[in-house]
């Protein structure tokens, strides 16, 4: 199929439709408002449902209702709105509902700013809300990858009956790139017949619920969720290695759009004869720890580059088990590190290796 030039936010909306999702509930917030705006136009054309919710709290509970009756459903927001969805996300995870939530991150904390950021890495990956649960979190680094991962997100959500989050920064949401929409075979939501609330005609009534008043039952439910995530961790890690063939003294670790800027910096350095590797996790949860450790083995020193104050470092530390020194370079609040910034910080890291 021919490529079309599209803004990231609109491409994400279209990708959801291509994945068979024609139900959207959400609330406007910069820099993701083009997703609801696009879907408000597109969904009526495909017989779908678009509701502008009264808040992100409501939106996250509307998708609970929609997924609970067995429908594929999407919500999107940006950082402050995602914080309000924390309640819904915990209930969705507890009730094991397959939904996709997109966070087009902006700078925080608080109202922060409206410019691109990766400041919600820890929120998305470590414990967005109360209780023991794990989201699957995907981090695209181009508009094309945002399309591909949005589609993948629905597949993973249904395969594991688990909420999936796609995190992009404001750049991905706002920039235009040519994209290809892959042909996706879509059927009804996977296995929803076994659990969804479709009316109890001809069977006994069901419930969609996260309440377990008996302590042992709740413990067992937590164990079940943990075991499920162990399977996800085993099967679903994705990452990219760039310029990791041969020898290198420095390995850059970076995710999302920031990793793309790092690639350009690595190309420039290569022209000077300086070889630098890049490890980019695509599933930032489950984090590809083993792959990261392997890529780090050849390097004398690591450099973690992010659009925040160093939130992914702890995962890189976990991956390398403290065996390597890790430098950090990052900017927050919407200041996007330039290729020159990254080159400069690579040189500093390189200098510390004695080269």
């Amino acid at each position: 199929m021919a490529k079309v030039l599209m803004k990231g936010n609109e491409a994400i909306g279209e990708a959801a439709i291509r994945a068979g999702c024609i139900h959207f509930f959400g609330y406007p917030i910069t820099p993701q408002s083009e997703v609801p705006e696009y879907l408000a136009k597109r969904l009526p054309e495909v017989g779908g449902v678009f509701v502008q919710a009264e808040s992100e709290v409501a939106a996250s509970n509307m998708i609970y209702g929609a997924a609970g009756v067995g429908m594929r459903v999407l919500t999107t927001s940006s950082s402050p709105g995602i914080s309000l969805m924390a309640e819904g996300v915990s209930y969705l995870a507890g009730a094991e509902l397959p939904v996709v939530i997109v966070n087009i991150m902006r700078g925080g904390p608080g109202l922060g700013g409206i410019l691109p950021s990766q400041g919600d890495y820890l929120q998305a990956t470590k414990g967005m809300a109360h209780g023991d649960f794990d989201l699957i979190v995907l981090a695209p680094s181009s508009v094309q990858e945002a399309v591909d991962l949005t589609i993948r997100a629905f597949q993973l959500a249904e395969k594991y009956r688990n909420p999936v989050m796609v995190v992009g920064d404001g750049m991905i949401g706002q920039m235009m790139e040519p994209v290809d929409f892959p042909e996706v075979e879509v059927g009804p939501p996977l296995a929803a017949d076994d659990w969804a609330l479709t009316g109890c005609e001809g069977r006994s009534p069901r419930d969609v619920n996260s309440l377990f008043l008996d302590a042992n039952d709740l413990h067992n439910h937590n164990v079940k969720l943990k075991d499920k995530f162990a399977v996800i961790t085993e099967n679903e890690q994705e990452w990219e290695l760039y310029s990791c063939e041969g020898e290198y003294d420095v390995l850059v670790t970076s995710f999302g759009m920031m990793a793309r800027i790092c690639k350009t910096a690595i190309d420039v350095l290569a022209e000077e004869g300086i070889k630098v590797g890049l490890f980019r996790p695509i599933t930032i949860k489950p984090y590809p720890y083993d792959a990261c450790r392997e890529a780090a083995q050849k390097a004398k020193r690591l450099l973690c580059v992010e659009m925040n104050m160093g939130q992914m470092i702890q995962d890189v530390q976990l991956a390398t088990r403290g065996a390597k020194e890790i430098d950090f370079f990052g900017k927050a609040g919407g200041v996007i590190p330039s290729v020159e910034d990254v080159i400069q910080s690579v040189r500093e890291t390189l200098a510390k290796t004695g080269k």
């Binding site: 609330l197 005609e201 419930d207």
Partner: protein, 255 residues
């Protein structure tokens, strides 16, 4: 021998956990009877609240959600919009609906979501041990208003049915009570009408049911029924407050 009373298929056979004399049970019963009599049990999905009725998903004999505190109207919106052919209802207390969930109920009503809300107003937070609700009466004692609700600090009780009826969107909004057999029979008629409007795809439907909480009111069941009649009825008058028939092109007759 003639059978004069039987289980309703609208409820499961589980004994409820409600306190003796609490009218949650009888309200469940009439909602269950309506679902059964309308023949919609197999195509209905209900939404239980957080409050004493948190376990309602075990009692209603149809598919059920358990929602987070106050968000039942949002959950119901998601369900009903995606499956408009199903009957959807929420069952919510006054803390759930009129405090933490006020935004969700107002906007569901204003969008004209075509589901039915059973709003149980017992003027108190039952489940958490008798704290003040938005509907607690002036001077009524609760565990967080130990000297009585001071309207200068806590405001006056919210008349949710009247408030929702100020919205232009067509709706059926009514208030009934459960403190006598006669009123309970009337409550059933109104709830049935609400479901019928929903089935016809007419409008958002909201039935406020005045209810008792003997445990946290510190009264016997009999005294509770009397207290409801004496203290709540004058402030919360019964009857239809808004009917879709009264709607004429953007205006409500009489509004």
């Amino acid at each position: 021998m003639k059978k004069i009373f039987a289980y309703t298929d609208g409820l499961t056979r589980l004994p409820t956990h409600y306190c003796p004399g609490c009218t949650h049970g009888v309200i469940h019963r009439v909602v269950g009877e309506v679902i059964d009599e309308l023949g919609i049990r197999g195509t209905t999905v209900g939404v239980a609240p957080v409050g004493c009725a948190v376990l309602a998903y075990k009692y209603f004999n149809c598919d059920m959600f358990e929602a987070s505190h106050g968000r039942a109207p949002a959950v119901a919106t998601g369900a009903k919009r995606c499956r408009p052919e199903m009957s959807v209802f929420t069952y919510q207390g006054d803390g759930d609906l009129a405090s933490i969930g006020m935004a969700e109920i107002v906007h569901a009503a204003n969008r004209g979501e075509k589901f039915t809300v059973i709003f149980v107003n017992n003027a108190i937070y039952g489940m958490t041990g008798g704290q003040m609700a938005p509907t607690t009466m002036p001077n009524q004692r609760s565990t967080t208003t130990p000297f009585g609700r001071d309207v200068n600090l806590a405001g006056y009780p919210i008349r949710v049915a009247e408030m929702l009826s100020t919205l232009t969107t067509p709706a059926y909004v009514s208030r009934v009570s459960s403190h006598t057999a006669e009123q309970t029979v009337r409550a059933k008629e109104v709830i049935k009408k609400a479901f019928q409007y929903q089935i016809a795809g007419t409008c958002f439907t909201f039935v406020e049911v005045l209810s008792t909480c003997p445990t946290n009111w510190g009264l016997s069941p009999r005294e509770s029924n009397k207290w409801l009649e004496k203290e709540m009825l004058p402030y919360y008058p019964l009857g239809d407050i808004k009917r879709p028939e009264d709607f004429e092109g953007g205006q409500h007759a009489g509004n």
